[in-house]
Symmetry: C3
Subunit: 429 residues, 3 copies
């Protein structure tokens, strides 16, 4: 069982019809604000210029369906599943022939039983999403086509929660709140993010580092957020993660930063040592907001973290992305990876031994006192940790160099610090 | 069909009896000077010291054969094929037994039907080259051995053609004009080089970069040329290529610079992305004038370019190196590779995006407006180009990083520049 | 046959009962001091603090055995093999039941015929070492258990021999003199070390570099030595090797320094080019005094050298580590590797060609004067040596870059220097 009820949160949030903008976003923010009152919303009016982009109209969706005139049978009902409506669909209420309707129905031919998730944010269209099989079964004849939506001058909302630490240097987590009823992509990211915030508040009342948790609609949201905060972020953020699809229990994925050279990359690589089914993707395979955070001129030291990466699991962007995919074990696996990274920062990233040569561990009961071949193996991680705790390596570097899971490295760091055999620092020594 | 009639030029030049020095070199220069009047010859007298070397005697060759006294039958006739005489052979006119003649006949035992190309530039010898089978058939008896040549105090000629651009920074191409009747090694290099010069003059009336085209006899020629021009070259040359065996259509070969770290190496590597049968050879496998240009103390930023590398194709240094080997497609393949490199320099090597975050390509009709899984792939090259167009990468770097052929990268660079989404510069930004 | 009688020395030293301290160490020093009078002993009293460690009591061992009361039969007799007594065993003279004795008998279960080498330096115990099979055969009944040893306030001895060269920059060799009757681990290290010292004195009466040969008990000895000499060593030592298990003829092993980036690593890598069965171990597989020399805060530019590495051969730390394992060929193979490294330093590590472009080797009879395909191969090493003799590469670098054994590179360096085609220097040019 996870320390925090991430799965319960996700289930409560699942049925909200989120999009880039609109009441679904507001409702989602309200939910998290009850858990974390420090969340702050930032509101941008339709038409505002944000970097190269423009804040789009707000979208309100109340209902949508197609009704077969002859029989009264309804199909693609929004109230059955909110994926049935094309995201950002323009309103319509019109009778038309099936032939006229069909081009407006989007399906996923290679997964004929599933409803795909399709959007048209930046070009006004109307449309429905259905399983390919259901579309094939639509009866002949005329249809009444109803999308009860509004596209109007409204607002786009981004939010953040910040913890000021002893240092201004920041660790950042970003995820997004723009997807309708899909569990992994993307309720998993926000719930893991909000659980991490809870963990920090409970375990580190006075953090070394500062923390920033960002919740935004994808792409336009991160651009909007940065259009207001970029200078501050560039001055403070030292390590960041974009969380996407962190709820299934099939693999662990690292989407590298543009040059795969940030401390976030090192941290994640270290935190995944010893995990099963670890996959590393170069920035060429980016797809979520690491696209924006890692763009030239932005250059956040951030990488992407997923369990199974968006696009790499069959349920992605369909109605099958549900709680068969997202599990407690999946969410908790993601949580623990990121928690260990937070712990490493708070311990002090750079350990340095306090003695010259190897310390005499035997006198501290940290080393076997009898020497025979074969007796050394259990203590290798400790000796190797000390060998590379030379003040130039981070805990992440050490884990990688000595090939030991980060959690064990952190245990050794804590134990050696108790015996005054290392000192830790937030900078290279 | 190639843009320029490189194959026609090569065929007209084929029968000239070139060597390190002599009338064949002069005739070859005259031919290219008609195409490019800016070619300038530089003449060095026999005996002149050039770095560690000495300009050798000039060699004039009029005729050569061996005549079987008893039958009058002639063999190894220079007038049948100019490879029949050992390059730089001393004169002789003497009757001798077959046994005395045989040690002076060079053959290629592993290719018994072919006449090998053999030279003795720096040690005075006389000799003939024959196919191993023809040598075996020589009748018994006495022979009159005739080589009607002179070795005398004359001159060695090197040549260059220069284009002064807006910048003094130079791109250099070097090839050699010392081989007799062999098509790939080495008429291919000069004709491709001269076609590139034509291309630059026709397409870039006012070049950004300066260009230098060097035509020399191999080894002694490049040493001689540099003995006069080294300081100038070290001050100006930013990227250079030695062209050798660039006329067959079997593979593309990159002979790396001494440390494989010059911009020429990067350029060639990028220009060969997506080609079939690309081979990369370290400097340990050098063999043409990259030996001299890349020597310590010279250190030109230059690498070698071949289609199939000298020594790696069976016809190399034999009379089979003819127009069965060298084709229009072969020459043109080499031309296009080098043209794309010239284009990259002229576009401006360092592109930098003009907006923060990803640009909104959709509003410029450069991106699909509907989002469904599977629709992104065609646009990946564009997004990846923009992601790495951060002012620190050359167009060559970007091609390599994103794994896209240089020609496509150049197309994207031109398109993005049209939309003012990038600016290019000749220096890192 | 080796140049020096290393095998003879080792055989004479084999039966001495060495340990961390005691008369065995003194006797071993006396032996080497006869060969090399410049060896100097440094003595540290029990209880002295050395870095994080404390000099232990001195151990004197006179006899040890267990005697079956009923039959008078003796087992585990120290006088039969000095491995029979647990190293640093406390004295005992007591009658006890077999059941009480057994937990004090150490065996190697996976090698049931062999006596293991076991020690308890830093925790007072008494014990015996026997083959597992012999232990199983011990008759039932009472035993008189005798270990005639003393643990008393005495001294620990370390020693060194130094040669002052023209430069203060030092090459260091360290090995250890604390193991009882085992041939490879560790008489091989000291005898190879002492042969190298002999070689230097005989061949280089006026060395360029300074040399330091260190003989210490393992771990505590190197720590003790450095506690007195660290500042001097850090100022002078440029390259060092810890010698351990250098006497068998099965493989060559390189135990890399902490970051595998010292000149010692490069030197050893170069010297092993072309050898059979070369193994490279990262610092994570360290085990001898490279642990101390390479610890943070010490940071000696030193790596470990073995033939077959400690722990990797079956006879290691048992009575089977004898002169079936250690051979003349084995010792000499190690000697030659290290001798070639010494030669490289004394030649001058950085060669630089004296001419621009390739030198004209033909006029010096260093290059074939006739050019035909296939004739170049024998000369490749020479041309490649010259190409990389650019003043920035050490002889070690060049050997690695061109893939040629160090000994051949040294031959070329000497030949090219004779012809004034290179100059060598002890620094990058």
């Amino acid at each position: 069982m996870s320390k925090y009820d991430m799965l319960g949160w996700a289930k409560e949030l699942f049925h909200i019809a989120r999009s880039l903008t609109g009441d679904g976003v507001r409702e989602t923010f309200r939910y998290f604000e009850e858990i974390h009152p420090e969340i702050t919303r930032h509101v941008f009016a339709t038409g505002t210029q944000v970097f190269d982009w423009t804040i789009p109209k707000e979208w309100k969706i109340r209902d949508a369906y197609v009704e077969h005139i002859e029989t009264g049978a309804r199909f693609a009902e929004f109230k059955q599943h909110n994926l049935h409506v094309l995201g950002y669909s323009a309103p319509i209420d019109q009778v038309m022939d099936k032939a006229e309707l069909l081009p407006h129905i989007y399906t996923q031919e290679d997964q004929p039983d599933l409803i795909p998730y399709v959007t048209s944010y930046y070009s006004e269209r109307w449309g429905f999403c259905m399983s390919h099989n259901a579309k094939a079964m639509l009866p002949e004849g005329a249809y009444r086509v109803v999308i009860d939506s509004d596209l109007f001058d409204g607002e786009l909302i981004v939010g953040d929660a910040k913890i000021q630490g002893q240092l201004d240097r920041e660790i950042m987590f970003s995820s997004y709140i723009c997807h309708p009823s899909m569990a992994n992509n993307e309720l998993s990211g926000p719930v893991v993010s909000m659980a991490l915030l809870k963990y920090i508040k409970e375990h580190y009342p006075n953090t070394r580092y500062s923390y920033r948790f960002v919740l935004v609609p994808e792409t336009i949201g991160s651009i909007t957020y940065m259009s207001e905060n970029l200078a501050d972020m560039q001055a403070r953020v030292e390590c960041g993660f974009n969380l996407s699809c962190v709820g299934d229990d099939r693999s662990f994925s690292h989407v590298q930063s543009r040059y795969a050279n940030t401390i976030a990359d090192k941290a994640l690589e270290a935190a995944l040592i010893g995990k099963e089914n670890v996959k590393t993707y170069s920035f060429l395979h980016r797809g979520s907001d690491e696209r924006q955070y890692g763009a030239p001129g932005i250059d956040m030291p951030l990488c992407g973290f997923c369990r199974t990466k968006y696009g790499e699991y069959p349920e992605y962007h369909t109605d099958a992305d549900n709680f068969d995919v997202v599990t407690d074990a999946g969410l908790n696996g993601a949580f623990e990876v990121l928690r260990s990274i937070i712990d490493a920062f708070e311990i002090g990233l750079f350990p340095k031994v306090t003695v010259k040569g190897e310390p005499q561990l035997g006198k501290r009961e940290l080393y076997p006192t009898i020497s025979q071949k074969g007796t050394y193996s259990s203590i290798n991680a400790r000796m190797d940790f000390l060998a590379y705790a030379d003040g130039t390596n981070t805990l992440f570097d050490i884990a990688k160099i000595i090939g030991v899971p980060l959690s064990i490295v952190l245990d050794e760091a804590r134990l050696m610090a108790e015996h005054n055999l290392i000192q830790t620092s937030v900078t290279s020594q």
